[in-house]
């Protein structure tokens, strides 16, 4: 992962997604599901934002031009590792793997940003404006954004 400290632009280069999902019934399908979840988490971390006009409450970016989602250039290398962990809780020992792949990604990226620049980001998305504000507050001794 890379943070441009002059512009606040965050680029995710590689995500390692390790999931305990019991007995993989269809490993290819699980890997694909996890990759999709990682991309959703990446967009949640860096791009997705409903911008509501503060006077009317109308969403002003309700289109796929202004509402930002990760595209091909934002897609990192994704390593999916499936832990086969048998608990004997069901006849098949298979667990669901839907949202878990999404949920862990944004906090992992926020931790990586903190690890890179020493600033704890407290809100999503981590846009250039919020990352620059976090860096400025940290350098002036104020509370992080």
């Amino acid at each position: 992962m890379a943070v441009d400290t002059e512009t606040g632009i965050v680029r995710v280069e590689r995500v390692v997604a390790v999931h305990d999902c019991g007995r993989p019934m269809n490993p290819k399908l699980i890997e694909s599901q996890v990759q999709g979840g990682v991309l959703m988490g990446l967009s949640y971390a860096l791009f997705e934002q409903r911008v509501l006009d503060r006077h009317t409450g109308r969403m002003v970016n309700a289109n796929l031009e202004q509402y930002k989602l990760a595209g091909p250039s934002e897609t990192p290398a994704i390593d999916v590792i499936l832990l086969e962990n048998y608990q004997g809780h069901s006849a098949t020992d298979a667990y669901g793997i839907a949202e878990p792949a999404n949920i862990a990604t944004a906090p992992a990226i926020a931790n990586a940003v903190c690890n890179a620049i020493g600033v704890r980001m407290r809100s999503l998305p981590m846009s250039p404006a919020t990352v620059l504000a976090g860096l400025r507050d940290a350098s002036t001794g104020g509370r992080p954004a």
Partner: protein, 347 residues
């Protein structure tokens, strides 16, 4: 979307005769004349036009297509070494044109990195220069803003994170064309033809209109007038150029900031002429004259480029939510000047 008629014009004169109203005028007329029955507007690639139709911001009676008009899709070398780029040349054509890449790399880079491959294959240079702004209030039919003939700029006291940091006292749009940032820096001319075939040429920089001159249009295109070409002046010896942009995403995103630097360097490495233009900064491409003056008659060094970048933002007037753009532009002006200078050094 309202039903409309479709006319493929065969000549520029025929297109100009049919084009009874500009898109800007038609959008302002729409409220008083919802059917807008007499209006016919020009369609080139249709990228911006179709967006406006789908958002119900424009409802012309007729679209005049330029696709069949011969001769508008060529890039031609001029006797003086400049290039004449036809109005219907696509952004993808410009980005992949060998002579363009060699002589005007900043323009090829800028258009090659804009929008998405699908859009670049269809979007034309003239359509790109004439597209309406992307301000989210302007693009929403519910907000009857100044630029659409209304009485209020909703961005000034609303959501203005992507809006202008210069010349933003009345309407705070940023000009949407990245190509324009480069073309203004290069001193490009536009060529316009009316229904009688009379040709008008204007410096692109003068063709754009700032809100203090007219709030309801971004350029001086007239009814019954077709933009036929953009003419790039020859690149003088010792000239170097670069274009860089910053966007939240690399794929399919509007720039938060973009900068073009065109400089002429003497044999002694001293900058003899500089043109620094900021895009996504103001309602029209913004010449940073203080930055240009800071570079003049000096050797380009990292501290000088940084000083020029600070000078570029001296007269900025950021709004409540876009002050972060100052840091973006200060970084980007410095990087662009240094990149252009390093291109000159390695030439």
């Amino acid at each position: 979307m309202k039903t409309f008629a479709w006319t493929p014009a065969q000549t520029v004169g025929e297109a100009a005769a049919s084009a009874s109203i500009t898109v800007a005028d038609s959008m302002c007329a729409m409220r008083g004349d919802p059917g807008n029955a007499m209006s016919s507007v020009v369609k080139a690639g249709g990228i911006d036009l179709l967006d406006l139709l789908k958002a119900r911001l424009l409802a012309p009676a007729m679209l005049v297509s330029l696709t069949a008009v011969p001769g508008l899709g060529r890039i031609e070398e001029q006797a003086d070494g400049g290039l004449r780029v036809g109005a219907m040349v696509t952004l993808a054509d410009i980005a992949s044109h060998a002579l363009m890449r060699r002589r005007y790399p900043a323009l090829a880079d800028a258009v090659g990195g804009s929008a998405s491959p699908q859009i670049r294959n269809v979007a034309t240079l003239a359509g790109n220069l004439l597209q309406r702004p992307r301000c989210w209030y302007f693009r929403a039919a519910e907000f009857h803003c100044l630029r659409k003939g209304g009485g209020h700029c909703f961005a000034l006291d609303g959501e203005n994170a992507h809006h202008a940091i210069f010349d933003n006292r009345s309407c705070a749009i940023v000009h949407p064309s990245t190509a324009a940032t480069v073309l203004v820096a290069l001193g490009a001319m536009v060529e316009l033809v009316d229904a009688d075939g009379a040709v008008r040429r204007a410096l692109l920089e003068d063709f754009f209109i700032s809100p203090d001159r007219d709030l309801q249009r971004e350029n001086d295109l007239q009814p019954h007038e077709i933009m036929t070409a953009v003419v790039l002046p020859a690149v003088p010896p010792g000239a170097c150029m670069a274009h860089l942009k910053l966007a939240q995403k690399d794929s399919f995103d509007w720039p938060l900031a973009d900068v073009t630097a065109v400089m002429e360097m003497g044999a002694d490495g001293v900058c003899q002429r500089a043109s620094i233009v900021l895009g996504a900064a103001a309602p029209v491409p913004h010449r940073a004259r203080a930055a240009e003056a800071a570079l003049l008659n000096r050797r380009i060094t990292i501290p000088l480029a940084a000083a020029a970048a600070r000078a570029a933002l001296d007269d900025a007037t950021p709004l409540a939510h876009n002050a972060y753009k100052l840091a973006l532009f200060e970084t980007l002006v410095r990087r662009t000047v240094l990149q252009a200078a390093s291109a000159a050094a390695s030439a």
